[in-house]
């Protein structure tokens, strides 16, 4: 994989920020978009813009073909059995909420348990808090080991006949931990519990095969994998989706509308009320083409190598703490703090050098409490980052430490 030729395809990277070439290390928040994706979205609006599944006219057919073509790309990308299992949503959050509203509320009752982990993003916590409040079920958490990996002994102990839903992230957006989801799915299925995987950080970074993982739901966002914002995917096993009620009602999702009752379209459209996110889906399709052409195995190897390099270089800085597991158990995220410097101050200092990192709680307040910090800084990498970016980060961090060391 030639990072330089990949960088060429990302126009946004070729700019100066605060007088320095941009070093973008915030891809876990959102990734950049290659020309291929920008052009696909642009071409749709320029040439084919029309509503889908309605028009008899030519543009309507073209738009529908492109939109449904994107669905087929997603199906192949995650190896779903059929396009009926691929529902376009606004993003991971909407995908999880759809399951928490529809499946969870219909299937949970008092005494049942939903189990999640302390490393979840808020979007895989709050929907379950609300679902158990509405049904009288109980929300529980698996325990973490000290290094921020899941305590598998506790996972085995916790999943029982009362467990109805297990929801967990594929890869932690803070610790970078890659969870053994296949093993957890197997444990959950033995007790007839369904498993939802938050793949917001998984789908962009590792090869996802939903049939191999055998999870019941897999949710991800387009914008973290080189696609546009506003588009995401809910994958669900067909037999589960068939039995679920839609959560949004309106145009597009209906079969017959009578005065006092209506019937729904077949899958996947019954979950896609209203005019769908047509350009977003087409852009996601182009992003999948982009990633597939490089190869997800190559992207994974690149991420691993860069992460190992970042962890090694960053540990050279005295007084810098890195949170989370060792490099072989994590994806392209390095969350850290410099002793005595608040992460917002670190991020502001780095920004003056054109280096973009995230600072804050990363939408994971329970995990921040588990780490016993109020906030952290985070550098996250993707396909277009190079060792040069890491070198600039490390020199920026050294300067940051020196600056705040002197002002104190």
């Amino acid at each position: 994989m030639d990072a330089r030729s990949i960088r060429e395809q990302f126009p946004i990277l070729h700019q100066e920020v605060n007088g320095h070439p941009l070093v973008y290390l915030d891809s876990s928040a959102t990734s950049h978009k290659p020309i291929k994706v920008l052009e696909a979205v642009d071409a749709y609006y320029r040439n084919d813009n029309s509503n889908v599944h309605r028009g008899v006219h030519t543009l309507g057919t073209r738009a529908t073909d492109k939109y449904e073509g994107a669905r087929e790309k997603v199906q192949r990308f995650i190896n779903a059995r059929s396009t009926k299992e691929v529902i376009f949503t606004r993003g991971t959050t909407t995908a999880i909420n759809t399951v928490a509203h529809s499946y969870a509320r219909a299937n949970l009752e008092p005494g049942d348990e939903v189990i999640i982990t302390p490393m979840e993003h808020h979007s895989n916590i709050i929907p379950w808090q609300q679902a158990v409040k509405a049904t009288g079920a109980t929300l529980k958490y698996f325990e973490l080991n000290e290094d921020g990996t899941l305590n598998m002994e506790d996972v085995k102990k916790s999943i029982g006949p009362q467990t109805k839903i297990v929801a967990l992230t594929h890869i932690s957006n803070v610790l970078g931990t890659i969870n053994p989801i296949k093993e957890i799915v197997e444990l959950a299925h033995r007790q007839n519990a369904v498993v939802l995987v938050d793949g917001a950080q998984g789908a962009p970074h590792v090869k996802v095969d939903v049939q191999d993982i055998d999870c019941d739901f897999y949710c991800f966002s387009g914008h973290k994998m080189c696609g546009p914002t506003g588009i995401g995917v809910l994958y669900g096993k067909q037999e589960l989706l068939e039995n679920m009620e839609p959560v949004e009602f309106g145009g597009e999702m209906i079969d017959f509308v009578h005065l006092y009752d209506s019937t729904w379209k077949e899958l996947p459209w019954k979950f896609e009320g209203g005019t769908p996110i047509i350009a977003g889906a087409i852009g996601l399709g182009a992003a999948i083409d982009f990633l597939t052409e490089i190869g997800m195995d190559k992207i994974e190897a690149h991420d691993q190598k860069l992460t190992a390099y970042a962890m090694e270089r960053m540990s050279e800085i005295e007084g810098l703490t890195i949170y989370g597991p060792s490099k072989d158990k994590r994806s392209a995220v390095v969350t850290f703090n410099i002793d005595g410097v608040h992460p917002h101050d670190t991020a502001t200092a780095l920004d003056t050098e054109g280096i973009a990192v995230r600072a804050g709680h990363h939408c994971a307040q329970p995990l921040m409490r588990w780490l016993d910090v109020t906030a952290t800084a985070r550098a996250s990498m993707y396909v277009y980052n190079t060792e040069d970016d890491i070198d600039k980060l490390v020199s920026g961090l050294a300067k940051t430490k020196e600056f705040f060391g002197n002002v104190f």
Partner: protein, 144 residues
């Protein structure tokens, strides 16, 4: 921009307030208590104000956050102590204007160290850190 520009943001007096916060702690007597946080970044402050006869008799704060949010809280409590509620609110307005990069004229109001935060206006992502304590104060006296 470079690390030299950081000096305009992190002035010595700001770092001094961060490292040695004034009025940090809890008021023992009955006080107005306001909890406020900045949900986007996790900064959190608990402000306690004692108002008597339309005057801020005492103010203290506790919390966690970056140097800008904590130093601003320290400076704010220092600035409003002994002022009338009306003046405290006027100062808050002046502070907001200052964050927007406007020239301010404090007139007879003694803003003290608060004016050291002027440089924050050049760092838009950090304005909310600086205004957190002032917003808490506004909410507190409005509750009164």
């Amino acid at each position: 921009m470079s690390f030299n520009d950081l000096d305009t943001l992190y002035r010595q007096v700001i770092m001094d307030h961060y490292k040695h916060p004034r009025n940090r702690g809890k008021l023992e007597e009955d006080a107005l208590v306001v909890d406020m946080n900045n949900p986007t970044c996790g900064d959190r402050i608990q402000l306690q104000i004692q108002v008597e006869d339309g005057k801020v008799k005492d103010a203290k704060f506790e919390g966690e956050g970056c140097s800008i949010s904590m130093s601003s809280a320290s400076m704010m409590t220092q600035a409003i102590k002994g002022k009338s509620v009306e003046d405290a609110l006027r100062m808050s307005q002046l502070f907001s204007d200052m964050m927007l990069g406007k020239e301010i004229d404090p007139g007879s109001l003694e803003m003290g160290d608060v004016e050291a935060l002027q440089g924050v206006a050049k760092f838009p992502a950090r304005i909310k850190c600086a205004t957190l304590a002032w917003k808490a104060m506004e909410q507190g006296v409005e509750k009164n």
